[in-house]
């Protein structure tokens, strides 16, 4: 039977309650309980075999590249927790049915609860570290939802946020720790990691990995100094507190310690870190539990204290201590869940949780009182109750520890002190509330709870007694199996009995119990002492630190992101300089082994002109028109450079684009100020010159370094395959339309999008039309010069013919869709310039937007067409045809693709320029017209 069912049933089952209605509570409860019951049955089905020592492991591949598999295991340790989670979970579901108010949304509650349950089951059954972490984070998230269930209360929201912050941060630390462990071991498989103890502990990364894993465990289990979130999580509904904050979620941390015990424990670091943290938490929690007035506050601090006790036991360096820890996990879950349930009942039936207001309640709710007495006695460690057994084991083990060396006697002493405090607050909790005088005035008239609401508590109380009286019969097998997993060795034989004879641990127990009662009796001294300290609210501190963090980051963002484009450019450039400059510093020599090619006069003249024009563009930038003219020289020289270095396609493209760009920029300049005002300060100019020079230097060095080194190109494939595979002799064009056709499709799409964007930007743009240039000379009135008109009309058919020629021969000679498209566009634009927009629009009534889109469509359809013949996207084919008059020609489907490119380029270019040109003829008031009117 697939083990994964145990996790998946509650996970999928969490959808069931949502489907039921809030009014029919019992049906909703049954829907929530059903998947849990089935999962419990599956777990019980495997129980016998696991108790006999079998370990079930099942794995399904999930993301093999990350070594993440959906691997689950069921060994003794998993089984202990699975039974706890499902068993107590079931009781909580029944209990919550009566606890939730009519105004609460029960389906939502059950859905969250089941989700949490699934996450928790995932943690304890995961057989892969990454999977374990995945479920770990899922518990943080689902517990956030559960704590914040009453999200209309500020307390609940803040408590949920704090819990998420602390446990979430711990989860990230845990991930880092797991990644380190995975790197050390070379696998994330849990079994492999557990078997690699020596390798892990010999590695220098052991200590950081240990610290990170412990950070995850300690935040989850509310260990000092992360304990502060747990009391605030008590804003959750009590069933949640009973389930998450006593039985399960906070136990995830100690579970992790037990799970990783075979791999990480046994070192002095583990002994001190885990042992001392546990000890401090044990005392801290116990002391504050005694001082709280809120029932749930007492229980929360007591939970912290007991978790500390378990951590202390896991830290101690003996096998028996680990068994005791597992035993106490079980015992604590049982009695604490029962106590939380009684606290919830009291709250529900009396309307208050304040210990000072509650007393003498056994008269109205005797069954509840019985549960509280039994669970309280277990918590205090009274013989014949389950808590006594594990506490006795603790006291015995502390006597044998090596922790603190010569001061080792401190450990049993402090452990006894912790037990004493525990007994004192247990007495206070039970005696004050249920006895201690007559029934007081209460917010609600107290009465006994519904039978089914107290039944889960009674069941747990009965378990306390069964385990306490007959430990050997009830839990030995389970503990032995769990111990085998946590120790990765045979558990020493267990002799769980109440009576071990008169010995030191028994004496310590007695001291703790009697001292506890005495302390309870004299507690007013303690309260008076505590009042001398100022009250410190962990939540306020936490909120303040979060706020200051937010303000700090806001200040940082304001500095970095001040809204200035110039500032962003600066940061970008500095980053480039640092990254690339740093790499260049690492190179031993700039010049590579290749010999330099000889210079000739033409090259020197060309380079000189390019450098001159480039510098002039920059230096004269405040006189914009001249700067623009210089820019066009750079463009032309670039085009010539392409021609000189055997790239005719590039030269043609660059030439055509240059023409279009210049026309565009001239048009734009017409609407923009003709001059740039002088506003940069001298230091700013100096800074920019320095930055730009550094950048140019780096580009030049990099370029030189590459050019003088031998080249390993992948192009030989394209050259070899161009004729046989692509049917074209012009490799550049074949690459564009065939080999890398998908890239080209993307590029024409971008071109089309840019053109559409420009079209929208120009929509309803109102710009001032200047009537004169920068020198104050009026623009020429002669809008359409005659010579230009005649020339443009003569050229148009010729240009179109040339573009068709260039287009058709593109596959075999320089040319192709891009160049042909640009030539066509230039010819049409010349027509616009000569005749004006109105004249052209009358004669060319079609729109350019559909043209550009149609181009992309044609290209995409050509690609899709190959699907129709069962080939991959954009596969091309070709053949030779004989056409009368023209002769043999070669046609490839790539030509159709190129047609798409051609249409897109023509459409996009004209969409940009014609629409921009339209602005000059818009019918709107201009100064010129106003003057004419006047």
């Amino acid at each position: 039977m697939p083990l994964l069912l145990i996790v998946l049933l509650p996970l999928v089952g969490s959808l069931l309650p949502i489907m039921s209605s809030n009014e029919r509570r019992s049906a909703c409860t049954a829907l929530a309980a059903a998947p849990v019951l089935i999962a419990l049955a599956v777990a019980l089905y495997h129980t016998g075999a696991v108790l006999d020592g079998e370990v079930f492991r099942q794995a399904y591949s999930w993301i093999p590249a990350l070594d993440l598999s959906l691997a689950v295991r069921l060994d003794g340790l998993s089984l202990l927790f699975v039974l706890l989670i499902l068993g107590i979970g079931l009781l909580i579901i029944v209990y919550a049915r009566y606890y939730l108010l009519a105004s609460d949304n029960a389906p939502r509650f059950y859905a969250f609860l089941l989700l949490f349950m699934a996450a928790m089951l995932g943690i304890v059954m995961a057989d892969n570290l990454l999977l374990l972490w995945f479920f770990w984070e899922l518990t943080s998230l689902s517990s956030f939802l559960l704590i914040g269930y009453w999200y209309h209360q500020s307390e609940a929201r803040k408590g949920a946020r704090m819990a998420l912050t602390v446990t979430g941060a711990g989860g990230l630390a845990l991930l880092a720790g797991f990644l380190l462990l995975g790197h050390i071991v070379g696998s994330y498989d849990l079994q492999v990691v557990l078997d690699s103890r020596d390798m892990i502990q010999a590695d220098p990364r052991y200590l950081p990995a240990l610290l990170l894993v412990l950070a995850g465990a300690f935040t989850k289990s509310a260990q000092f100094p992360f304990q502060f979130w747990l009391p605030h999580a008590m804003a959750a509904p009590t069933p949640v507190s009973a389930f998450l904050h006593s039985a399960t979620m906070v136990k995830a941390g100690v579970f992790l310690l037990a799970r990783m015990h075979p791999a990480l424990a046994g070192s002095p670091e583990w002994l001190y870190l885990v042992g001392l943290t546990g000890l401090v938490t044990l005392l801290y929690g116990a002391y504050f539990a005694l001082l709280k007035y809120d029932l749930k506050g007492v229980l929360a601090n007591s939970t912290i204290s007991h978790l500390g006790l378990i951590t202390l036991l896991l830290g101690l360096d003996s096998d028996m201590a680990t068994i005791a820890a597992l035993f106490h996990i079980l015992n604590h879950a049982i009695f604490k869940a029962a106590l939380f349930m009684t606290a919830g009942i009291l709250d529900h039936e009396t309307g208050t949780r304040d210990i000072r207001k509650l007393q003498g309640l056994w008269r109205v709710m005797p069954l509840t009182a019985a549960v509280a007495v039994i669970a309280g006695a277990a918590m205090a460690g009274v013989p014949y109750f389950n808590g006594f057994l594990s506490k006795e084991m603790l006291l015995k083990e502390t006597l044998d520890t090596h922790l603190l060396g010569g001061l080792a006697w401190l450990i049993p002493t402090l452990a006894t002190l912790g037990s004493l405090l525990s007994a004192a607050y247990a007495v206070r909790l039970v005696y004050n509330v249920f006895f201690h005088g007559p029934l007081p005035e209460l917010p609600k008239t107290a009465h006994a709870p519904p039978k089914l609401m107290i039944a889960p508590g009674l069941l747990l109380a009965a378990l306390c007694l069964v385990i306490g009286i007959m430990p050997a019969l009830s839990v030995t097998a389970l503990l032995t199996a769990a111990g085998n997993a946590a120790l990765a060795a045979e558990t020493p034989e267990l002799h769980l009995t109440v009576w071990h004879g008169l010995n030191l641990p028994l004496l310590m127990s007695a001291v703790a119990l009697i001292g506890g009662v005495a302390l309870y009796w004299q507690r007013r001294h303690l309260f008076a002492f505590q009042r001398q300290f100022g009250a410190r609210d962990a939540r306020r501190l936490f909120e303040a630190s979060v706020q200051s963090l937010v303000h700090g980051t806001q200040r940082l963002i304001d500095t970095l992101e001040n809204g200035s484009l110039q500032r962003y450019m600066l940061w970008l450039v500095i980053t480039i300089l640092c990254l690339v400059g740093g790499t260049l510093l690492g190179a031993t020599e700039l010049r590579g082994p290749l010999p330099l090619q000889p210079l000739d006069g033409l090259i020197i003249a060309g380079a000189g002109m390019t450098i001159f024009a480039g510098l002039a563009t920059a230096l004269l930038h405040r006189r914009r028109l001249i700067s623009l003219l210089m820019l066009s020289i750079v463009g032309l020289m670039t085009s010539l450079a392409f021609a000189r270095f055997s790239a005719p396609d590039l030269a043609l493209t660059q030439l055509a684009v240059e023409v279009v760009t210049m026309i565009l920029l001239m048009l734009a300049l017409f609407f923009l100020p003709q001059r740039t005002p002088k506003e940069s300060s001298a230091p700013r100019i100096l800074r920019d010159v320095l930055l730009a020079s550094a950048f140019g230097g780096i580009v030049a060095s990099l370029n030189f370094a590459v050019l003088t080194r031998p080249l390993e190109s992948i192009s030989h494939f394209f050259i070899a395959q161009s004729v046989p595979g692509g049917g074209g002799h012009n490799v550049v064009n074949v690459i564009l339309v065939d080999f890398r056709g998908f890239d080209t499709l993307g590029e024409i799409t971008v071109l089309c999008i840019a053109a559409v964007g420009i079209y929208k930007l120009l929509n309803r743009l109102r710009l001032f039309m200047p009537s004169s240039d920068a020198e104050g000379r009026p623009w020429s009135r002669d809008r359409h010069p005659l010579i230009l008109i005649s020339v443009s009309q003569t050229i148009l058919p010729l240009a179109l013919l040339v573009s068709i020629f260039i287009f058709l021969r593109g596959h075999n000679a320089p040319g192709g869709g891009f160049i042909a498209g640009l030539v066509t566009a230039v010819a049409l634009i010349l027509l616009y310039i000569a005749h004006g927009v109105d004249w052209c629009q009358q004669r060319m009534s079609f729109q350019y937007q559909p043209l550009a889109v149609a181009g992309v469509g044609v290209a995409a359809l050509t690609g899709l067409g190959s699907w129709a013949f069962g080939y991959p996207f954009l596969t091309s084919t070709f053949g030779h045809f004989h056409v009368p008059l023209i002769g043999d020609i070669e046609l490839a489907t790539a030509l159709l693709f190129d047609l798409g490119v051609y249409l897109t380029v023509v459409g996009a270019t004209l969409m940009i320029l014609a629409n921009l040109g339209k602005l000059t003829t818009a019918h709107r008031p201009s100064k010129q017209k106003d003057k004419e009117k006047a």
Partner: protein, 116 residues
């Protein structure tokens, strides 16, 4: 020749960057265009500088200039045009809507076009 070529790219890149750091939109657009020339030349030269290479494949001549950078640069030129066009028209729109041609959208003491 390699040194001179590299120097040219470097100077163009430096001039382009200097202009791109200016405060007004038009010099920034001109600077970006200049920068794209430099980048195209740089990218193109990654295939080596071939003199008198074959234009098309005739037989199996090995003197064909590396076609891959050429194909990349060809599309880069067209896309560069689209980018220039988009940014310059964005600049015009910004001036139309904000009344300023400063890249930060400042409405400082931008002198509106003198009315003559």
């Amino acid at each position: 020749m390699e040194a001179l070529f590299s120097m040219t790219t470097g100077v163009l890149a430096a001039c382009g960057l200097f202009l791109a750091l200016r405060g007004r939109t038009f010099p920034v657009v001109v600077g970006l265009t200049l920068l794209s020339y430099a980048v195209n030349l740089f990218l193109f030269s990654m295939g080596g500088l071939t003199t008198d290479g074959a234009v098309v494949i005739e037989g199996h001549g090995s003197d064909y200039a590396d076609p891959l950078p050429q194909a990349l640069v060809l599309t880069a030129i067209v896309i560069g045009f689209a980018m220039t066009a988009f940014s310059v028209i964005l600049a015009m729109r910004a001036r139309g809507d904000l009344g300023s041609d400063h890249v930060n959208g400042n409405r400082l003491d931008e002198p509106r076009e003198e009315s003559s």
